[in-house]
């Protein structure tokens, strides 16, 4: 049995619950990761099991070759590239199928077939209508929404042409995608083509394989994910600043705790409403609780946090630990990143695990299927299940005290509004402050948790290092939650953690130095923010000209690989931590880490040390500043600070 050497978490609440789990005889992902070491061949992307002649292990690293070729003749390069783009396909499929689910609900709501759902953000509906040439005139929102819903749904199955949201990107980027032959024809088509090309004996040139990975990933970021974000905004409201709280301390001892977990906010939006229903609150009181306390895990939580301020119980690696508190009466899950161990752990306490998606069933869980035609009844059944389970709580309850305030809700639209105001909404102040050097650049830090590294540590170390060096950080997903737990998402954090330049801008605008942009499909908001910076002028003509960088320091999911790939394909330097899935082929790794820059203006990098990774990002930002000719302002700034220090020491 391999001994686990790394510290499990930097989060005290999580560490306390791990100790309680051990006392209670409960095994978590942290224990399993300690007991099961990673398969080195698989982790390096060198194990192919795409046919029944294999699996074949074919390493392409100098001096470490296991075998020159697989049984079919596939080289280490082909195998690593095939495995890599199959990860892209998995991630793009997950985001895009989520987007499709939203589009289907959207269309049903527009047609009046989904009671309880309505158009909450007319402005964004009109935005899409303008963009897609849908007639507005005197038509009702429902009529416009039917057209929007049909167009959005058709994007998934489109066979030729280009997906529509590509036209949002900077013009130079659009030209580049066309020149390189990576403009997606349809969202599903590019994913299917990956599965075809990676079947035994089809595409056996790693350049061509990786190019198809790029095409499918663009179909995720500028397609499926963007559709999910935009339609969710129309149905549930575009996020605006709201105060939230994060960590296991948001669970309440004297209230019914219903934890919402997963990624698709379709049902959870209704649950938020039902939990405030006086009938449900009275029922909770009749069962001896003081009320109903909703909280969330993972990205469904981010969605309802961004729109309603519903607190976050924690990120991916805290899902099991939330149950270990003994205070969760029900955990309702939808899709993605849900651990199969939850029903087993729930048996040690009293928690009911409720699955809701026909796509995500788990043995041992209670299944209450989400039906868009009857969402209200489904939501009521779920809330009632939690309430009725409250009296079954045992005495083995320990809720950590830790919880932290956070200000969230920074959609692209809200950033634009906050920086420029109602009459002149604009990214101009951001660009100006980048040009004058107060803000050095912008970094998107996103992604998951991974028990192969210290929980939350890489996220928080990286983010602190970036803001200390005047880099404004924008975040989504579980990464955002890690930073929030440390208090980095409050305006006060600017004075405490940020460099002088960034702090001065944050204080003037009244924003935290680390902005929460939402869930993982909301990485599409980061693409829009980057495009807005380009279009506002002064920072080049393309996203690849901007002093920006991306990172996923604790990534683990295929979705993260797809996200990273569409960031790279959009022109962003993107560094991943923990592990890298093509290390089994020097050539493929070099192609992704070096050659991609000539084609796409963005490249991948791998650096497990979060501080070193932050420094890679800062050097890239500085390289871009130099290319833009705005490095001088920054040099003068540094010189002045040095001078000041010297003066102060006299």
């Amino acid at each position: 049995m391999a001994e686990r050497k790394i510290k499990k978490s930097v989060d005290k609440a999580s560490l306390d619950m791990m100790e309680k789990a051990a006392r209670d005889g409960v095994t978590t992902a942290f224990d399993r990761a300690g007991e099961m070491s990673q398969c080195a061949i698989g982790a390096a992307g060198s194990c192919c099991k795409n046919c029944g002649m294999g699996p074949c292990r074919v390493l392409g690293v100098k001096g470490e070759e296991e075998a020159a070729r697989g049984i079919c003749g596939a080289t280490a390069e082909t195998i690593a590239a095939r495995n890599f783009i199959r990860m892209v396909a998995g991630g793009a499929a997950a985001h895009s199928d989520h987007g499709r689910g939203v589009a289907e609900l959207f269309l049903a709501a527009a047609k009046g077939k989904a009671p309880g759902y309505t158009i909450r953000d007319e402005q964004k509906l009109l935005q899409l209508a303008l963009e897609w040439g849908v007639e507005i005139g005197e038509r009702s929102n429902q009529e416009i929404a039917v057209d929007i819903g049909e167009i959005a749904l058709a994007e998934f199955g489109k066979q030729e042409g280009e997906i529509r949201f590509l036209s949002r990107a900077p013009l130079k980027r659009q030209e580049l995608w066309r020149r390189e032959g990576v403009a997606p024809r349809g969202i599903d088509r590019e994913i299917v083509e990956i599965m075809h090309r990676t079947h035994i004996g089809v595409d056996q040139d790693y350049h061509s394989l990786l190019k198809q990975g790029v095409r499918a990933a663009i179909g995720d970021g500028w397609g499926g994910s963007m559709i999910a974000t935009e339609l969710q905004d129309i149905l549930f409201g575009t996020p605006a600043p709201v105060l939230g709280r994060v960590n296991l301390g948001v669970l309440k001892k004297d209230e019914v705790n219903l934890v919402i977990h997963g990624h698709e906010p379709l049902l959870s939006e209704v649950i938020v409403a039902v939990a405030q229903d006086p009938e449900m609150v009275s029922l909770a009181k009749a069962k001896g609780a003081k009320g109903i306390n909703l909280s969330g895990i993972c990205c469904t939580a981010n969605e309802i946090l961004m729109r309603h301020g519903v607190p976050l119980a924690g990120n991916f690696l805290q899902q099991e630990l939330a149950l270990v508190t003994g205070a969760v009466d029900a955990m309702v899950v939808d899709i993605q990143c849900i651990m199969q161990s939850l029903p087993d752990i729930a048996q040690c306490y009293h928690t009911k695990i409720i699955t809701t998606s026909p796509k995500a069933r788990i043995p041992g869980a209670l299944h209450i299927e989400f039906d868009e035609h009857n969402a209200l009844e489904g939501a009521k059944a779920i809330v009632r299940t939690a309430i009725e389970n409250f009296p079954n709580r045992g005495n083995n309850i320990d809720i950590p005290k830790e919880q932290t305030d956070m200000v969230v809700g920074f959609s692209h639209e809200t950033i634009n509004y906050l920086l420029g105001g109602l009459f002149r909404a604009s990214y101009r102040p951001l660009n100006d402050n980048i040009i004058n050097g107060r803000i050095r650049g912008v970094a998107g830090v996103v992604g998951c948790n991974n028990p192969r590294t210290t929980h939350d540590s890489d996220h928080t170390s990286m983010v602190k290092e970036l803001i200390k060096n005047d880099v404004l950080v924008i975040q989504t997903g579980c990464s955002a939650m890690a930073a929030a737990k440390l208090g980095l998402m409050t305006p006060e954090a600017a004075a405490k953690y940020a460099g002088e330049g960034l702090a001065s801008v944050c204080e003037t605008v009244g924003i935290p130095p680390v902005l929460h942009l939402g869930s993982c499909v909301d990485n599409s908001r980061i693409l829009m923010a980057a495009t807005a910076m380009v279009k506002d002028g002064g920072l080049g003509d393309d996203i690849s000209d901007l002093p920006v960088a991306g990172a996923a320091p604790e990534w683990m999911s295929e979705k993260a690989i797809s996200i990273g790939q569409y960031f790279v394909a959009s022109g962003v330097f993107t560094v991943f931590g923990v592990t890298w899935p093509t290390l089994g082929s020097d050539e493929v790794t070099k192609h992704l880490f070096t050659d991609f820059e000539a084609a796409y203006g963005g490249i991948w990098a791998f650096e497990p040390d979060p501080i070193k990774a932050a420094h890679l990002m800062i050097s890239h930002i500085d390289k871009k500043r130099k290319a833009l000719g705005i490095d001088k302002a920054r040099e003068r700034v540094l010189y002045d600070m040095e001078m000041r220090r010297e003066l102060e020491s006299v």
Partner: protein, 72 residues
């Protein structure tokens, strides 16, 4: 109210004294506190905002920095 004076610094600037926080201590507690889109009530106002605020995508006369060099 007692006003507090704070010293602030910024790159490329001497430190200056500025008026400190004048707001009351405490936290906002309403879900609607940061909401701004309701300020645009009518459809016409919303369309006008899109054409000005999001002008690079929806404004007829605004092309952003990139289009000036490459006229459409």
């Amino acid at each position: 109210m007692d006003y507090e004076i704070e010293e602030k610094g910024a790159p490329n600037r001497e430190k200056v004294e500025v008026l400190g926080a004048t707001y009351e201590a405490g936290k906002p507690d309403g879900e609607d506190d940061g909401r701004w889109r309701h300020k645009l009530a009518s459809r016409d106002e919303k369309l006008r905002y899109l054409r000005s605020g999001e002008r690079y995508w929806y404004g007829k006369d605004w092309y952003g920095s990139e289009k000036r060099k490459n006229p459409a």
